[in-house]
C-alpha cells in the first residue's frame, strides 16, 4: 500500500513543478486588511495611507480606520504607512496568505513616530529557525494534546507513552532538554519523567512559537534543543464584549471537548482589557485496529483569566490559570518483571483487553497545575522600558499504581512542586544600530514528596535556587542584515534531603555555574531569499532524578541508578535556515540545517543485571558522554493553480554517542508528510474553504545502539489523513467548521517513539469534527 502512495505523491510533486513553471494563472487572491489607530488615544486614523511599495497598491483608511488591499500576489513587500503630519514609516512584510493587521501609529509631534504591530513578540530570537502556529493551524487540532498540536511543526516529534501521554521533542531532544514557556513563564511541571506530559491547556493559547535552536541566552537553563512558547493572548483595548465558543467531537475514544472564551474592554477606560476562558475534555478508551486500548481515557479541565491595562508608558497584566488532568495508563503496560515484558512482546497483543469504557482505573495519573503571573512594563523614555515579571506556580502530581490490599486508591507517587520565578529586564535603546535588553532572573523551587504513599519516593525532596544575569544586544545593519549577540551567566544551587536505605538522613548540597553565549543573524539577501544563521550555547544542570534515582522504574522494567557526580550538560548548537520564494512566490522552500554538540550528555547506560524477588532486572546507570545531533527540516510549498497546492515537510535527525561511538537511543526516524490542498478563498458567504489529503510516512529507525532496547524497532508505516474546513460569516459573528480524519485506513502500526509499543499497537482510525463560533466584533 505504501509504494503506490509514495509514487502518487512524487507524481503530484512533479506535476506541480511542471505546471508551476508553465502556469499562466498567478494566484493573486490574497487580502491585506486591518485598521490604523492612534496609539495614544485610540482614535481611528482615517485617511491614513497604507502602501505596498512593490505591488504599487495602496489604500486609504476609512472613518473607522479600516483599510483593505485585495487580490495581492504572494511575496515580500515594503509596507509604508503615512498619516497627515507624520513622516511615512516603513516595514518589511512577507505575504503568504491573507492577513489582517492592526496597526498603531504613535502620534506625538515631538516624539519619534513609530509603527507598532499589535502582535508583539516576547523576544526576537534573531537567527533562530522558528515556526509559529497560529490560531488557524491550531484549531485543526482542537481537542488534541499540546504535543500533538506541535507535531505540525517540521522537526518536532512526539515521545509518547501510550495514547494518553505525549511529550514534544525538538530535533531529537525532549523533557528537560527543551524549555516550555507558558505565557512567558518557564513551565515547571516535573518534565524529567518520560511519562509526564506537559500540564498545559492547549485551549488557553491561540498562538505557539517553536524556536528550534539553543536559546539559553534568552531563556536560561534547559533550552538546549529548543523552546516552545505559548504566547500571551492580546487583550482587547476598547469597550465591547466578544467571545468564542469551540467544540470538538472525537470518534476514537468517543469523547469530545469544548472551550468558551469571553473578552472585552471597558467604556471610558481605553487600554483596559479582560479575558476569561474555560475548557473541558473527556475521552474514553482509545481503539487500536482490532482491540480496545483499555484504560486509556483522559479527563481535562482548565480555566484562565487575564486582566490588563496598557497606555503609552505603562502596561501591566495579571494572569491566572488552572489546569487539571486525569489520565489512564494502558492496563496491559503494567508488568511485574522482564518475563512479563518478553511475554507481551512475543504475544503481540495486549494481555488485558476489556470493553470500551470512560472509567479510568489504576494505573493512572492526576495532575494539577496552577499559575499566577503579574507583569509590569514601564517606559522610562520613549525607547527605554523596564519590564518586571513575577510568577508563582504549583504542580501537584499523583500517580496511582495497581497495588495489593486495596491500596490502588493510594497514590504511589505524590509530589508537589512549587516554583517562584522573577525576572526584571531593562530594554534599552543606545542607538539605531544597537539596542537590546539586560536583565536579572531568579528561580526558587521546592519539590516535596507528600507522605503517606507507603513507598520510597522516586525522587527526593529538594530545594533549588538559581539566579542569572543576561545581556542581549540587537544590531541592525542596514535594511537587510540584522545581528544579535548575547550572553548569560547563571548559578544554580541544589539542596537535597533524603533517607538512605538504612534510614540515615542525607542532605547533600550541590552547585552549578553555567554560562551561555549566542550570536545570530537575519540576512535578507533579496526579497525572495532570507537566511537565518545562529550559533549559540546552552546548558542544563543535571536534574535531581539523574543525580539521585535509585531503584526499580516500574514502567520501564529497569533498575535506574543516579550519579551525584554528574556535571551540567553544555550544548553548542548551530543552525542555518534558508527560506526562499521561487517563480513569483508560487514555490516556497524552507530548509533548516542544524548540528548540536552536547557535552556531558546524560543518559542511561546498561550495567548488567540485578536479581530481585521479581526476577532479574537490567540495571542502568546515569552516565554522561559527548553527543552529537544533526539533521535537516525541509518544507516545500507549491501553488499549482490558484486553488490547488501541495505542501511537503520532511525531518531527518541523527544522534551519535561520541564517547561510545554508537547511535543514541530513542531518536526519531526519518519522516515526511505531504498534503494536497484545495482552497477557495471566498464564494458567496462562505470563506476559507479548505480541503486536504495528507500522506504521512515514517521510516523504520535502523540507527540504534545495541543492547538498550527490549525489542527491535517497529517497521516503517504510512498513514493517510483528510481534512476539510470552512468559515461562514453571520453579520458580526463567524462560524468555522472543520473535519479532521487521521489513519483513514485503520492501519495497524507501532511507533518507535512510543514507549508502549511493546504492549499494543498505536491508535487506529480517528475522526474529529470541530466547530468554532466567534461572536461580537473582534477588535
Amino acid at each position: 500500500m505504501l509504494k503506490p502512495w509514495l509514487l502518487g505523491c512524487l507524481f503530484l510533486l512533479i506535476i506541480s513543478f511542471t505546471t508551476g513553471v508553465q502556469g499562466q494563472d498567478v494566484i493573486c487572491e490574497l487580502d491585506f486588511t486591518g485598521t490604523v489607530t492612534d496609539e495614544h488615544d485610540g482614535t481611528p486614523l482615517s485617511y491614513a495611507n497604507v502602501l505596498l511599495v512593490e505591488a504599487e497598491r495602496s489604500a486609504i483608511a476609512d472613518v473607522d480606520g479600516y483599510f483593505s488591499i485585495t487580490d495581492l500576489c504572494p511575496g515580500t513587500f515594503t509596507l509604508r504607512v503615512a498619516h497627515l503630519g507624520c513622516e511615512p514609516i516603513e516595514r518589511q512584510l512577507v505575504l503568504l496568505k491573507s492577513i489582517r493587521m492592526d496597526l498603531f501609529l504613535e502620534h506625538h509631534s515631538e516624539e519619534l513616530h513609530d509603527l507598532e504591530v499589535i502582535r508583539e513578540r516576547p523576544d526576537e530570537n534573531v537567527g533562530q529557525p522558528n515556526t509559529e502556529l497560529d490560531k488557524h493551524t491550531m484549531e485543526k487540532s482542537t481537542g488534541r494534546s499540546i504535543a500533538e498540536v506541535l507535531a505540525a511543526v517540521p522537526g518536532v516529534t512526539i515521545l509518547s507513552t501510550g495514547p494518553t501521554i505525549g511529550k514534544p521533542m525538538i530535533h531529537g531532544l525532549s523533557g528537560n532538554r527543551i524549555l516550555m514557556l507558558n505565557q512567558g513563564i518557564r513551565q515547571e511541571d516535573q518534565q524529567w519523567g518520560t511519562e509526564h506530559a506537559p500540564n498545559l491547556d492547549p485551549f488557553s493559547s491561540d498562538r505557539i512559537t517553536v524556536v528550534k535552536g539553543a536559546a539559553s541566552v534568552q531563556y536560561g537553563s534547559d533550552a538546549i534543543g529548543g523552546v516552545i512558547i505559548t504566547e500571551p493572548v492580546d487583550l482587547p483595548r476598547t469597550a465591547g464584549i466578544n467571545g468564542e465558543l469551540r467544540g470538538v467531537g472525537i470518534l476514537n475514544g468517543r469523547g469530545g471537548g469544548g472551550n468558551a472564551m469571553l473578552q472585552g474592554g471597558l467604556k471610558g477606560l481605553r487600554g483596559f482589557g479582560w479575558r476569561v476562558q474555560g475548557s473541558g475534555k473527556l475521552v474514553g478508551d482509545s481503539e487500536a485496529p482490532g482491540y480496545t486500548l483499555s484504560n486509556t481515557g483522559t479527563r481535562e479541565q482548565g480555566a484562565s483569566a487575564t486582566m490588563g491595562y496598557r497606555d503609552l508608558r505603562f502596561r501591566s497584566t495579571l494572569y491566572f490559570s488552572w489546569f487539571q488532568r486525569e489520565l489512564g495508563i494502558l492496563r496491559a503496560s503494567h508488568i511485574g518483571n522482564l518475563t512479563d515484558l518478553d511475554n507481551a512482546i512475543s504475544t503481540g497483543t495486549p494481555w488485558y483487553v476489556a470493553d470500551f469504557t470512560y472509567d479510568i482505573d489504576a494505573p493512572r495519573q492526576t495532575s494539577d497545575h496552577l499559575l499566577a503571573k503579574a507583569e509590569m512594563d514601564y517606559a522610562l523614555t520613549e525607547r527605554n522600558r523596564i519590564v518586571v515579571t513575577y510568577a508563582y506556580q504549583t504542580d501537584s502530581r499523583k500517580e496511582y499504581d495497581i497495588r495489593r490490599g486495596g491500596r490502588s486508591a493510594l497514590p504511589a507517587l505524590d509530589i508537589g512542586l512549587t516554583t517562584h520565578t522573577a525576572d526584571a529586564s531593562f530594554k534599552h535603546w543606545i542607538g539605531k544600530h544597537i539596542h537590546g535588553r539586560a536583565g536579572l532572573s531568579g528561580l526558587f523551587q521546592r519539590n516535596i514528596n507528600e507522605p503517606g504513599t507507603g513507598i520510597r519516593p522516586l525522587i527526593p525532596n529538594y530545594q533549588k535556587e538559581s539566579g542569572g544575569v543576561y545581556l542581549i544586544e540587537h544590531l541592525p545593519l542596514g535594511d537587510r542584515l540584522e545581528l544579535e549577540a548575547g550572553a548569560r551567566l547563571e548559578n544554580t544551587s541544589l539542596r537535597i534531603a533524603k533517607y538512605d536505605v538504612s534510614g540515615t538522613l542525607l542532605q547533600p548540597e550541590l552547585e552549578y555555574t553555567n554560562h551561555a553565549l549566542g550570536i545570530g543573524a537575519n540576512w535578507s539577501i533579496k526579497d525572495s531569499l532570507n537566511v537565518r544563521f545562529n550559533i549559540s550555547t546552552a546548558y542544563r544542570p543535571p536534574h535531581v532524578s539523574e543525580l539521585y534515582s535509585e531503584g526499580l522504574h516500574h514502567g520501564a522494567a529497569a533498575i535506574e541508578v543516579g550519579n551525584d557526580q554528574l556535571d551540567s550538560e553544555r550544548s553548542l548548537k548551530g543552525t542555518i535556515d534558508i527560506e526562499a520564494l521561487w517563480f513569483k512566490g508560487r514555490l516556497r522552500t524552507d530548509l533548516t540545517f542544524y548540528t548540536d554538540k552536547i557535552g556531558n550528555y546524560i543518559y542511561l547506560r546498561p550495567a548488567g543485571q540485578q536479581l530481585t524477588i521479581r526476577g532479574a532486572f537490567p540495571v542502568f546507570n546515569y552516565v554522561s558522554t559527548d553527543a552529537l545531533l544533526y539533521g535537516l527540516d525541509a518544507t516545500l510549498q507549491v501553488a499549482v493553480t490558484s486553488r490547488w497546492s501541495v505542501r511537503s515537510r520532511t525531518s531527518i535527525v541523527r544522534g551519535r554517542d561520541l564517547g561510545m561511538d554508537l547511535w543514541l537511543f530513542q531518536i526519531p526516524s526519518d519522516r515526511t508528510e505531504t498534503t494536497l490542498l484545495y482552497t477557495i478563498v471566498k464564494t458567496g458567504n462562505w470563506r476559507e474553504i479548505e480541503l486536504g489529503f495528507t500522506s504521512n510516512y515514517v521510516a523504520q529507525q535502523r540507527r540504534i545502539p545495541p543492547g538498550l532496547d527490549y525489542a527491535p524497532p517497529p517497521g516503517s508505516y504510512h498513514l493517510m489523513g483528510f481534512q476539510a474546513s470552512v468559515t461562514r460569516k453571520l453579520r458580526n459573528n463567524e462560524v468555522r467548521i472543520g473535519l479532521q480524519a487521521s489513519n483513514l485506513f485503520n492501519t495497524t502500526y507501532r511507533d518507535y517513539m512510543d514507549r508502549f509499543r511493546y504492549y499494543a499497537a498505536a491508535r487506529g482510525m480517528d475522526v474529529s469534527l470541530w466547530v468554532r463560533f466567534g461572536f461580537g466584533r473582534p477588535r
Binding site: L269, W274, S316, F320, I335, I455, Q463, G551, Q610, G615
Partner: protein, 226 residues
C-alpha cells in the same frame, strides 16, 4: 506537608476574576487616570510584597517530616517450607532481599530434600524491612481470586500440585502437595502472578503459559534431591 508562602495569599486578593473589581470598573465612574494610579499602586504593593516578604524560613521544610514511610508493598522474603508428611520434618527454602530492588544482592538459602517422599509445601511472604516484620501472606489470603502461584522445575525429580483453592474453586498455591523421586539436581522456579486469568487453558492445573497478569514474585531455587 503544607508549605505556604505569604505571597500566595496576597496574590489571591488580586485575583483578576474578582467580580467586585469588575463591577467597580464597569460602573465607569472613575477617571482613567485614577484607575491607572490605582493599578500602579496595586502592582507596586504586589512587587514590594515579593521583594520583602520573602518566604518564611521554617525548620528546613524540605526535610521529610518522618523517615520515609515503610514500604508496605515490598516483599523481602519468600519462604517455602517443605514439611514431610510422615516425619513432620521441615525443609526450608528461603529467598531474602532486605533492601528491596537494587542495593545489595539477595540471599538464597536451601536445604537438600530427601528422595521418594511426600511433602506439604507452605508458602509464606514477609516484609522484613520493617519492624515488626510484616506478614504479606495475609494480604494474598484477602485477595485469593487475584493471585496464583506457579511452579516450574528443571532437571529435578519433583512434582508440585495445588492444595488450596479460592472462592471460585480455582487454585492459589499457598498450600501445595509435593512428591520427590530419585536423587537429582536442578531448579524450582516459583512465580506469583497478580490478576492472572485462572480460567484460561491449563492455568488451573499449574501451566503458566496462558496465565497473563503481572508478576509479583519470580524466584528460582537450586534444588538437590538426595
Amino acid at each position: 506537608m503544607e508549605w505556604t508562602c505569604p505571597f500566595g495569599s496576597g496574590l489571591a486578593s488580586a485575583d483578576p476574576v474578582d467580580p467586585r473589581v469588575v463591577r467597580e470598573l464597569a460602573s465607569g465612574t472613575k477617571e482613567r487616570r485614577n484607575f491607572a494610579r490605582t493599578m500602579k499602586q496595586l502592582i507596586l504593593v504586589l512587587f514590594v510584597a515579593i521583594t520583602f516578604a520573602s518566604c518564611k524560613k521554617d525548620d528546613d521544610p524540605i526535610v521529610p517530616v518522618q523517615p520515609p514511610a515503610n514500604e508496605e508493598e515490598v516483599i523481602t522474603t519468600l519462604v517455602l517450607t517443605f514439611t514431610d508428611i510422615d516425619s513432620f520434618e521441615d525443609h526450608v527454602f528461603r529467598f531474602t532481599d532486605l533492601d528491596g530492588d537494587g542495593g545489595n544482592a539477595p540471599v538464597i538459602e536451601v536445604e537438600d530434600l530427601p528422595g521418594n517422599r511426600d511433602f506439604a509445601v507452605f508458602i509464606s511472604l514477609l516484609n522484613e524491612s520493617v519492624s515488626p516484620t510484616q506478614n504479606i501472606t495475609t494480604q494474598i489470603e484477602d485477595e485469593l481470586e487475584q493471585h496464583q502461584f506457579f511452579f516450574q522445575t528443571v532437571g529435578v525429580n519433583l512434582t508440585m500440585s495445588y492444595g488450596d483453592e479460592d472462592a471460585n474453586l480455582q487454585p492459589v498455591g499457598l498450600i501445595n502437595n509435593s512428591m520427590t523421586l530419585s536423587p537429582s539436581t536442578g531448579t524450582l522456579k516459583v512465580t506469583l502472578r497478580h490478576n492472572p486469568d485462572k480460567s484460561a487453558s491449563g492455568v488451573s492445573s499449574g501451566d503458566i503459559t496462558n496465565a497473563g497478569g503481572d508478576t509479583d514474585i519470580e524466584v528460582t531455587f537450586p534444588v538437590v534431591i538426595i
